[in-house]
């Protein structure tokens, strides 16, 4: 038998499983060498387990340690941060797996396993990721159970069953703990994972949005208070891009601190002058996924209601700091409002007309020519849109363009994605002397049939233009709508064939929207995800209100009392099971067959009386069923021998006799 400090073989086996399951999803978020080292450790430990290889030599272990340190130093400029921390944990996890001789080493591996498993949630908080972490935790717990079993049970899966049982029993208590666990807010500032951010960047180069178009991740969700506006009105403005250096479009530097941001609760002079609010209000609440930037999305001309949101001069929303976790804010938009209708200051006009020198000469020339020929800016705009409509087409995989990208696009390739149309249109307008800017954001979204909310995904990313017209102010123009009106009326998905869009996610459910049941499954999952986000991921926002509502106050005695009572209640089944266990069966195995025999006799018309001795019963039945008299006596003899003579009798014989015994109901003449 194993001494208590040794690692049971089954324990190693389950540790290997737990290790693989835990590290696998993290490899996506870490530099490649980390999973490579984990793989080496796993393969080696497997070799040891199967008795093929010995423990690694000392030099190899030292080399691996140095490889880890060097890798960490090279991959990460600073070791302070989430990725370096997780990379370090995975390294330690792998090395300790190799350096595992005694049970206490294995326990360290298990503890590291718990920690590493949970770090996945720092990169990805979706329901699927949480379920994955739960699976990993189940396997880690199974290996912990396997490390502590002594019986030579052949069933290798036993620890897994045990783990499932314990975790299952722990679930109700988990809910209690989760509800009351204090949420203190960050104790010190921690850098957030950069890798996990997807979404729009604060600048635009041709091709950027095309890339976003291939992801079905949620960008934000919107709950409308009233009716959801029609799809073609849903232009979610994120930021305006006014500066162009020939390649990239970036935001004009108006300065967030220079008094040009109107924070919630303030009243700026410029806001009163520039904005004329009119039309019916549309109120909604946005739940924005983290995206790493500080801009927020809203419909045309928003009024803000949430603290820590501000309005920029171009009437887009900002948050004071980068959105590194899910953020909720409340907005009312008035779509008919006017912006800068009274006029545009000279300095601002200059910015909105700026063009880099000697870029795209062909476009420049054409724009000047058309501007001279057009009676009004509106006529010019109409002419340009008509030009697009005639010759251009909309594609997700446009040709690459040369140095004068806009010239190339307008006069040669004539095919592009929304950003191509927006950028070339803005360039054309500016060249023609009309102030214009690109708006980057999302268009449309998917209205959820049950939830009454809208989900906007990365593939809804869009770019369009705003031009400034004298007397009307800023007017929204979407050149893409001229080329592909269906892109605005429906979503990109309906427009494109699935394969083209989801190049990198072959199993994305959004790809199979045409299959009805798959689509309803997808919508169901989405609704689940929404609830998950609302109730779990955002729990710290509702915790005080919820607990106050349930407990009638937040005093510590109430919370303590609730914790105690709820814990006991949720543990009742476990407590019961630990104090009561069914007693060992005292019945003799022969009793089972005899009872079966009695039942059969009972059916045949001779039920056994309570406590009737077997022989008297046999005698009575022999009179009722004279044809079976012999069989009955034989069975009774066999049973009595088995039951009452020491070590005598033959169970198999009794079994065969009883199974073969058939007594038919006596016919009554």
């Amino acid at each position: 038998m194993l001494p208590p400090w040794q690692i049971p073989r089954n324990g190693t086996l389950w540790l290997l499983v737990a290790f693989s399951v835990t590290v696998l999803p993290l490899s996506r978020h870490l530099p490649l060498w980390v999973p490579a080292i984990a793989l080496v450790a796993l393969a080696w430990r497997m070799g040891i387990y199967r008795g093929r290889w010995g423990a690694p030599q000392r030099w190899l272990k030292v080399a691996l340690i140095f490889a880890c340190i060097a890798g960490l130093l090279i991959s990460f400029k600073r070791l302070y941060g989430l990725e370096p921390m997780v990379a370090m944990l995975v390294c330690a996890f792998s090395l300790k797996l190799l350096e595992m001789h005694q049970r206490r080493d294995a326990l360290v591996v298990v503890f590291l396993g718990y920690f590493v498993a949970v770090t996945l949630a720092l990169f990805d908080q979706s329901l699927a990721a949480a379920l994955y972490v739960a699976t990993a935790v189940t396997f880690v717990t199974a290996s912990l159970a396997a490390l502590h079993q002594t019986s030579l049970d052949r069933r290798h899966y036993r620890p897994l069953l045990q783990s499932l049982r314990i975790l299952g029993q722990a679930l109700p208590l988990m809910v209690v703990f989760f509800l009351v666990m204090p949420r203190l807010g960050p104790l010190w500032s921690v850098p957030s994972p950069g890798l996990a951010m997807t979404g729009m960047s604060d600048s635009l180069e041709l091709g950027d949005i095309t890339r976003l178009g291939r992801s079905s991740q949620i960008a934000f969700r919107v709950d409308f208070e009233g009716e959801v506006p029609s799809r073609e009105k849903l232009y979610w403005r994120g930021l305006t891009l006014s500066r162009f250096d020939g390649r990239r479009w970036t935001q004009a530097d108006w300065g967030h601190s220079g008094g040009l941001v109107q924070w919630q609760g303030q009243n700026s002079v410029w806001h009163e002058q520039a904005v004329l609010l009119q039309g019916n209000p549309v109120a909604y609440r946005v739940t924005l996924e983290k995206h790493g930037g500080n801009w927020l999305y809203s419909l045309w001309l928003p009024q803000i209601h949430s603290a820590n949101t501000g309005l920029l001069r171009d009437l887009t929303l900002v948050s004071p700091e980068a959105v590194t976790r899910r953020l909720e804010y409340q907005v009312t938009s008035r779509p008919a409002s006017l912006l800068d209708a009274e006029g545009l200051a000279a300095v601002r006009k200059r910015v909105e007309l700026q063009l880099p020198g000697n870029s795209n000469p062909q476009t420049l020339a054409l724009a000047r020519q058309w501007a001279a020929e057009s009676p009004s800016p509106e006529a010019l705009i109409a002419r340009v849109l008509a030009y697009y409509r005639r010759d251009f087409y909309y594609t997700l995989s446009p040709n690459s363009l040369g140095q004068h990208a806009i010239d190339d696009f307008l006069f040669r390739s004539k095919q592009g994605f929304c950003e191509h149309f927006a950028a070339s249109f803005v360039f054309f307008m500016r060249a023609a002397g009309i102030p214009a800017r690109i708006v980057a954001g999302y268009q449309g979204g998917e209205i959820h049939p049950d939830g009454g909310y809208l989900s906007v995904r990365q593939y809804d990313a869009h770019a369009w233009a705003e031009v400034w017209l004298d007397g009307r102010g800023w007017v929204q123009v979407d050149p893409t709508a001229a080329v592909a009106p269906e892109r605005i009326a429906s979503s990109l998905l309906d427009l494109m064939s699935g394969e083209e869009i989801f190049g990198d996610a072959p199993f994305d459910l959004a790809r199979f929207r045409s299959v009805a049941w798959l689509n309803s499954l997808r919508l169901g999952l989405e609704s689940l995800e929404y609830r998950w986000a609302k109730w779990v991921l955002g729990y710290q926002n509702i915790q005080p209100a919820l607990l106050a509502k349930w407990l009638g106050g937040l005093e510590s005695w109430r919370i303590g009392g609730f914790l105690l009572l709820a814990s006991i209640l949720s543990l009742l089944p476990v407590i019961r099971a630990s104090f009561y266990s069914s007693k060992l069966e005292k019945t003799h195995p022969a009793d089972r067959y005899y009872q079966l025999f009695c039942r059969r006799l009972g059916k045949a018309g001779c039920p056994r009386k309570k406590g009737e001795p077997p022989w008297r019963y046999a005698q009575r039945c022999g009179q009722i069923l004279p044809t079976k008299k012999q069989d009955i006596e034989k069975i009774t003899q066999s049973y009595v021998t088995l039951r009452y003579s020491r070590g005598g009798g033959n169970l198999a014989e009794l079994r065969a006799l009883v199974k073969g015994f058939r007594a038919n109901r006596i016919n009554k003449f």
Binding site: M1, F111, Q125, S151, P186, L571, S578
Partner: protein, 328 residues
């Protein structure tokens, strides 16, 4: 100072334990007789939990909070599992082997249960001895699976009765986070024989000539019977007379003399103290047991019957072991 305190505490603890768990012939563990506390692994687990909570707090990550809560709940749940694994177990000493000083004396402890719970990972040990697991309960459902006998070993030191000390029975099953244990004192004692010391030659040859001249009698021709010769029997056993008479091949059979007793006497060793005499008599018993002749033992106030065989030997050794022995 600390040594003094430790000693004082130890004594106080023993006293307390003595009142709480006195010596009994059989004990079924229950909430009164077991202790429950987080094991070292459990404390490490709590450390992991604390770190996880810190991680969740700093990143304001509710998924991590969920799993910190889950592991906390697992910890609490395993308290009950570990407790239930030990409570309901009955312990009883089946027998304690006899042995000589310096031997490891085997103690068979019967572990049984009256309920149907699956149990695993229960370890038994005496004092600082090496723990032994209970292995039989594999839950296969057979009737004997609910009962197991575990062999533990005690150090035999001095002649006399040996009592089993406090038996530690413990478990950390299922996850090793909670240690549930008890120190039970079970009835049952074994026998430690005197340390055998072979007597010097002069002593052993001693004796009045009641000590038989065994060599002369050894080849006793006490003819018993004839039986058909079987292959392999020595030729000098062949009944030549019968063969010469033409009666066939027979072999002769003899028996050793019955009345040839060897008495091992207390008074053989004058001038030695009690323990020394017992040691020598012990050696004599061991020697006499191999000689193949009946032997007996004379001690002040008691005299054994003459006899032979393992049982007789054990009986004599036992009376040597318990002679004028008192519990100290």
């Amino acid at each position: 100072m600390s040594a003094f305190l430790t000693k004082y505490w130890r004594r106080y603890f023993d006293f307390w334990l003595q009142r709480r768990l006195p010596r009994v012939s059989q004990i079924t563990l229950n909430q009164r007789s077991v202790f429950t506390f987080p094991s070292r692994t459990g404390l490490g687990f709590i450390g992991v939990l604390a770190l996880m909570w810190l991680l969740a707090t700093n990143y304001e990550n509710n998924v991590v909070f969920v799993f910190a809560a889950l592991l906390g709940a697992v910890f609490v749940v395993t308290i009950f599992h570990s407790y239930a694994n030990l409570a309901g177990v009955s312990l009883r000493i089946v027998q304690i082997e006899a042995g000589f000083p310096g031997d490891k004396i085997r103690v068979d402890v019967e572990v049984s249960q009256q309920d149907q719970r699956y149990r695993d990972g229960i370890w038994l040990k005496f004092g600082d001895g090496s723990p032994q697991p209970i292995l039989s309960n594999t839950g296969d459902g057979g009737s004997d699976q609910r009962r197991a006998v575990v062999s533990l070993y005690l150090d035999a030191r001095r002649r006399g009765k040996i009592y089993a000390g406090r038996l530690t029975v413990e478990t950390v099953y299922p996850l090793g986070l909670i240690r549930v244990w008890s120190h039970v004192l079970l009835d049952g004692w074994g026998v430690v024989y005197p340390q055998p010391i072979a007597a010097s030659r002069q002593h052993s040859g001693v004796g009045d000539s009641t000590d038989f001249a065994s060599d002369e009698i050894q080849g006793a021709e006490d003819f018993n019977d004839l039986s058909p010769y079987r292959a392999g029997e020595p030729y000098n056993r062949i009944a030549w007379k019968q063969l010469a008479r033409g009666q066939g091949l027979y072999s002769k059979h003899f028996v050793d003399p019955v009345a040839d007793p060897q008495w091992l006497d207390w008074s053989d060793y004058p001038g030695l103290d009690r323990e020394a005499r017992l040691s020598r008599l012990c050696a004599d018993v061991l020697q006499a047991a191999t000689s193949g002749r009946p032997y007996g033992l004379k001690l002040p106030g008691e005299q054994s019957a003459l006899g032979q065989g393992e049982k007789h030997r054990q009986q004599l050794l036992r009376s040597l072991a318990l002679f004028e022995w008192e519990h100290s």
